[in-house]
């Protein structure tokens, strides 16, 4: 399937490059003169030639410094770029794919290593701390910025000024910024939101049955209470006539998976009071943990109650299970990242176009930690759930090439194609991505595409946002929180007790890392939360 | 080329394995070391080979100290009781192994191996592995290997002990001729079998509890055992040793008037002695010392009757098969002219006069 003339051109370019560089020693970062581009401006780009597992979609190369055309002018032959990324396929597969393309058009050698989620943090951080220049480019969850920032090379101005970067939404530029410097290169935009099956929720017969049974209208849930009612009503019934029961809710609950994010999603509307400033996880003044305050406890109560609406094994679901459970049509509703939604919208999915996206459920009251009362007012708090990001190591000897790779990775053509492949885990993060027409072109129904785009862009407009705890030692904090949640879900402890213990654990961690260090970092997060 | 051991002693965990062993081994002679199991025979061989370090004493070869020569330079071959061969090598390879170490030429090795295998009667078995041979054949391989080298010292540690009776006799006869051809080699051969020691040995060394009790030509040791212990070790079945008295021309045993004092004992003063009498020299009779039968062994043409006189055990070897039942009271007749007399400490006092000694006979 390869384009032979194209290969020939690369070979020729490589020969030219080699002759030109003569006997310069290998692997020395140096700027070589540009060479002729391999692509015409605005050429059609497609992944087809890499195998039939990629969509045949074609998009136009958008001219700019990161385009195929521009990058193919660069000559990185004889140099090696080392990259660490998440396991294949989520973010790992696009990392490899674009690495291969980058090799083809620049002559560089790119080595990619893929690592499971649980290992990524220490695999990146250990060499950084030891001063070992192991990787030039690193892909990792953006909430680790507190741990990583000291070792990262700030994104140079020339890349900040690219049109692609300028189009990144405010929230994701914020996520990439540490102490006023952009140190992460945005490649993904992630948030938690709600996904539901419209073939059930919009089915008049079921609406009538639900009304008859509960006296309420069946609609996409607006609060966690509604979510629970609907999930409980339908759980255990066969909703699609395949002889197997369906279930109400799929959530990430496996302790050392991404349970902490699921819990924060459930807690967000109870704890993010639009009028209370100065911290959601900590009181910024005292650095006292707030995770055992009534809002968090209620969220955990909800989650424990929700157990009855989970599929078998639902109490040990990792993200993959959640994606398969909703994406495979087993459960009615789910909330987490885009993956399950995109998975359900793959061309061969049996629930394609029978789903819609919506904002995370909210609440009818929100806890006010200053007055210590529940304020009766409808509340919504979109959760910008970390998301993948990328960065270049300060210790890298190939920073220019590294940034060129990231700029190429995230160029408009690549991103547009990546967005359509569910397993890639690349989700909208530029304003241009909130375009329903693009998704309709992928075969999505109008309503589905609209709900998706509106949900995502709606979150950008909110002023009551929740961000992750982006401080040093975040993994420890999240691990302690997940332990508390898991203990309550397992029935080992009551929610209040479990969270009290988690809070004590948090204090200890803060003590250990240094209160001021954590506070300085947390101030960055609070600045995002309290932003108007 | 004399091998001399002087004052070798070895104590392990309070048990004497060797106790002031002094002995000289002459070239061209076959020395049999006889003793019961655990007598220290194997330890002595291992010490001679250099496999066993001793606590004290010295070992010289023609006056040159041997103690500081490592095993692999001692010019010694050894055949073990347990048919030890190299399991991974063929019969040929086994015999050729030491020759290859000596760096001999292929032809020479071929020649010596063939000769050696012919000697032990294993021609045609070259390609077999030891595990494909019978026990006797395995031991022949070990012997062939030891012989092929033509070492100055050849040690054999009860080489026949683990073989069945028939094979043992056969090999023993073969050994007799084999070892007589070994030129200047010093051969040391241990055994528990008096017959083997008598038949093979030019010199017999009797060991007991780590000591050498007596050294001498087989006939001398057989006829003149220095102590009751030697007398018992050197005979099979062991010589009957029993306390008794000489009183007024009579030998009394356990209160019985056993027999009259024959000529060779006539000079002895009255008093307490230990007497020795071979099993063949006791017979069942209508009168004599009374004993109770404790055990009866019938082996082909002979019957061994074990009887207790008082607390003293006797073994009686009689021709033919006799119907004796356990617990029967029998009368023992002791041949007076065959009595050995030892003093109360067990040292030889008088031997019977032998007219004609049949060595090795039962």
């Amino acid at each position: 399937m390869r384009n032979n003339s194209y290969k020939g051109m690369i070979a020729a370019a490589a020969v030219v490059a080699l002759t030109a560089t003569g006997c310069t020693s290998q692997d020395q970062p140096e700027s070589k003169p540009d060479r002729p581009a391999l692509f015409k401006p605005g050429e059609e780009i497609s992944y087809r030639k890499y195998g039939k597992d990629y969509p045949a979609t074609e998009v136009k190369d958008v001219p700019g410094p990161c385009s195929y055309e521009s990058i193919s002018r660069k000559d990185y032959s004889g140099q090696t770029l080392k990259i660490i990324s998440h396991a294949v396929p989520v973010i790992g597969e696009p990392t490899k794919l674009h690495a291969r393309q980058f090799e083809e058009i620049t002559g560089a050698k790119v080595e990619v290593v893929n690592v499971p989620f649980g290992e990524l943090h220490q695999k990146i951080l250990t060499p950084l701390q030891a001063g070992q220049p192991a990787y030039d480019v690193m892909f990792y969850p953006s909430l680790w910025i507190g741990d990583m920032a000291p070792y990262l090379a700030p994104v140079p101005k020339e890349y900040l000024d690219t049109p692609g970067m300028k189009d990144v939404t405010k929230a994701y530029m914020d996520v990439a910024t540490w102490n006023g410097k952009v140190v992460q290169y945005p490649v993904d935009g992630d948030r938690h939101y709600l996904k539901v099956r419209t073939d059930v929720l919009k089915d008049p017969e079921r609406q009538a049955a639900y009304k008859a049974a509960t006296g309420k209208d069946l609609r996409t849930p607006k609060t966690w209470a509604e979510y629970q009612e609907i999930a409980a009503f339908f759980s255990g019934k066969d909703l699609d006539g395949d002889g197997k029961p369906n279930f109400g809710s799929a959530e990430v609950t496996k302790r050392d998976d991404l349970t902490f994010s699921a819990f924060i999603s459930r807690a967000a509307p109870y704890v993010k009071h639009p009028d209370v400033k100065g911290g959601l996880f900590f009181d910024l003044d005292t650095m006292k943990p707030l995770i055992n305050t009534p809002g968090f406890v209620r969220a955990l109560d909800d989650m424990v109650k929700a157990k009855s609406t989970w599929a078998p094994g639902g109490a040990n679901f990792g993200l993959g299970d959640e994606i398969f459970s909703f994406g495979g049509g087993q459960t009615l509703m789910s909330y987490s990242w885009d993956d399950a939604f995109i998975q359900a919208q793959q061309p061969d999915s049996r629930i394609r176009n029978k789903i819609e996206a919506a904002a995370l459920p909210g609440s009818t009251e929100v806890y006010n930690r200053t007055t210590k009362t529940w304020d009766k007012k409808p509340n919504q708090a979109p959760y910008f759930t970390w998301g993948w990001t990328s960065a270049v190591s300060k210790a890298s000897g190939h920073q220019k090439m590294a940034f060129d790779y990231l700029c190429f990775f995230s160029n408009e053509a690549n991103t547009a194609l990546d967005l359509t492949v569910g397993r890639f885990g690349v989700n909208p993060y530029r304003n241009a991505h909130f375009d329903a027409a693009f998704w309709e072109k992928q075969g999505w129904d109008k309503d589905v595409a609209k709900s998706y785009v509106q949900t995502l862009s709606g979150m950008e407009k909110s002023t009551n946002r929740v961000f992750d705890l982006r401080v040093p030692g975040v993994n420890q904090y999240m691990s302690a929180l997940a332990n508390g949640v898991a203990a309550a879900l397992a029935g080992q402890k009551a929610p209040q007790q479990a969270l009290d213990e988690a809070a004590r654990e948090w204090s200890k961690i803060t003590e250990q890392i240094g209160k001021d260090k954590v506070r300085d970092a947390y101030r960055n997060v609070v600045a995002l939360e309290d932003y108007r | 080329m004399t091998l001399s051991a002087t004052d070798l002693s070895l104590t392990v965990d309070g048990v004497d394995h060797l106790k002031s062993v002094t002995a000289t081994f002459e070239p061209g002679r076959l020395h049999t070391v006889i003793g019961r199991t655990m007598a220290g025979k194997t330890t002595l061989l291992r010490a001679l080979a250099g496999l066993q370090e001793v606590d004290s004493g010295s070992l010289t070869r023609d006056g040159a100290d041997l103690m500081r020569t490592p095993v692999w330079r001692r010019d010694t071959a050894m055949v073990y009781q347990q048919f030890i061969n190299y399991p991974h090598l063929s019969v040929f390879g086994n015999v050729a192994f030491p020759l290859r170490r000596q760096g001999l030429s292929r032809d020479e090795i071929q020649r010596r191996v063939s000769k050696s295998l012919a000697l032990v009667g294993l021609t045609g078995f070259e390609r077999r592995k030891p595990s494909q041979l019978s026990g006797g054949q395995q031991q022949r391989v070990a012997v062939a290997r030891a012989l092929a080298r033509g070492t100055g010292i050849l040690l054999l540690d009860e080489p026949l002990a683990n073989l069945d009776y028939k094979l043992r006799e056969q090999l023993r006869d073969e050994f007799k001729t084999l070892f007589s051809d070994q030129g200047d080699t010093i051969v040391v051969y241990t055994t528990t079998e008096p017959a083997e020691a008598m038949m093979l040995g030019d010199v017999v060394l009797v060991m007991h509890e780590g000591r050498i009790l007596q050294v001498g030509p087989p006939q001398e040791v057989f006829e003149r055992p220095a102590t009751t212990t030697v007398a018992s070790i050197i005979n099979d079945p062991p010589m009957n040793i029993f306390p008794g008295r000489i009183e007024g021309g009579q030998v009394t045993v356990a209160g019985f008037q056993a027999t009259h004092v024959s000529a060779h004992l006539a000079q002895l003063p009255d008093g307490a002695y230990q007497f020795g009498l071979r099993a063949t020299d006791v017979s069942l009779a209508s009168a004599g010392v009374e004993g109770a039968v404790t055990f009866v062994e019938i082996s082909g043409s002979e019957t061994f009757v074990h009887a207790a006189v008082g607390k003293t055990p006797f073994v009686i070897q009689i021709e033919g098969i006799h119907d004796v039942a356990l617990g029967d009271l029998v009368k023992l007749r002791l041949r007076p002219e065959r009595l050995y007399a030892f003093d109360e400490k067990g040292s030889l006092v008088r031997t019977p006069s032998y007219d004609l000694v049949s060595v090795g006979g039962r």
Binding site: Y50, G51, D53, Y54, K82, I83, I84, H86, A87, V88, P89, V90, G92, E93, L97, E111, V113, N114, V115, P116, K123, T126, A130, A134, Y135, K244, L258, G318, G320, I323, F324, G327, G328, Q330, D339, Q343, D348, S349, G422, R423, G425 | A49, L51, P70, W72, R73, A77, M78, Y80, Q82, I84, Y86, P87, H88, F97, P98, R101, Q102, R145, R149
Partner: protein, 281 residues
């Protein structure tokens, strides 16, 4: 048990255990021919009848889209495993021979204590070792190199080699050593010419354990390399993503087992000859 029922009982038990042993392999095999929809649809077993098989999983482990390329990792694993096993076997059997044949006494330390020291290295939780190993290899400039990985793997395998070989040498009569020495071999020659050739079964078992633990080591290989030396378990684990491609993972798992199955067949030959230990008697 009545004699006539015994064979029935015997074969029933063997068959049950065989099912249990083979079950995961069967499941991996059938899963390796599925796709996302077949997996999401609940448990199915038979291709064509219950689901439409596809070779995506297998294509993906040989560089297909969304997969990995197992060839280079396979070679790396093979090199590391063979080198580390060889070094461990050589050093391990020498040490084991010393511990089996000679008496050591250094203060209160005796042979059995030295053997225990070797074996105790396997008690160390790997978590403890990996950080210092990291700094050790960094200091030596051996991070992310085959050599570095081989050194660390030797530390894992050497105890196994010593443990197996001490037991094995203990089963070989010392008289063989003595005889070889009497036959003119120095100590090293004795070991090489008389003992080693008789230790092939023991060496085989030791080699198998070394190969199994070396081949399957994920923990150290993963943490002490960056990009240059990817071993097979690392390559397979790289598939354990938040959306695991079960089909590819299954295919890779089966692929990784294949060479060791050949090893199992080889080991079984020695078993059948009945000379895996106590080869002499």
């Amino acid at each position: 048990m009545r004699p006539r029922l015994y064979p029935v009982f015997k074969y029933t038990v063997i068959a049950l255990w065989a099912c249990f042993v083979a079950g995961p392999f069967f499941w991996a095999m059938t899963t390796s021919f599925k796709d996302a929809n077949a997996v999401q649809g609940g448990a199915t077993y038979l291709p064509w009848i219950q689901y439409q098989p596809t070779a995506t999983g297998w294509r993906n482990i040989f560089g297909g889209a969304g997969g990995i390329d197992v060839i280079q990792p396979f070679l790396n694993s093979a090199i590391v495993t063979i080198a580390a096993s060889a070094i461990s076997l050589v050093l391990g059997s020498l040490a084991a021979y010393a511990l089996s044949r000679y008496r050591f006494k250094i203060g209160f330390i005796k042979n059995s204590d030295i053997v225990f020291f070797f074996v105790s290295q396997r008690i160390m939780p790997p978590v403890v070792l990996v950080i210092p190993f990291f700094y050790l290899l960094q200091w030596a400039g051996l991070l992310d190199t085959i050599a570095g990985l081989v050194i660390v793997t030797v530390a894992l395998l050497l105890p196994i080699a010593v443990w197996v070989m001490v037991d094995f040498f203990n089963g070989i009569p010392r008289e063989i050593d003595e005889m070889a020495m009497l036959d003119g071999c120095g100590p090293l020659q004795t070991f090489v010419r008389a003992i080693l050739p008789n230790s092939l079964p023991g060496l085989t078992v030791a080699a198998m354990f070394c190969a199994v633990f070396g081949w399957n080591d994920f923990f150290f290989a993963f943490r002490l390399t960056f990009t240059e030396v990817q071993t097979l378990p690392q390559a397979v684990v790289a598939l354990n993503s938040s959306i695991p491609p079960w089909w590819t993972l299954s295919a890779a798992a089966l692929f990784g087992v294949a060479p060791l199955v050949l090893l199992a067949i080889w080991v079984e030959r020695y078993l059948s000859k009945g000379n895996l230990s106590g080869a002499v008697r």
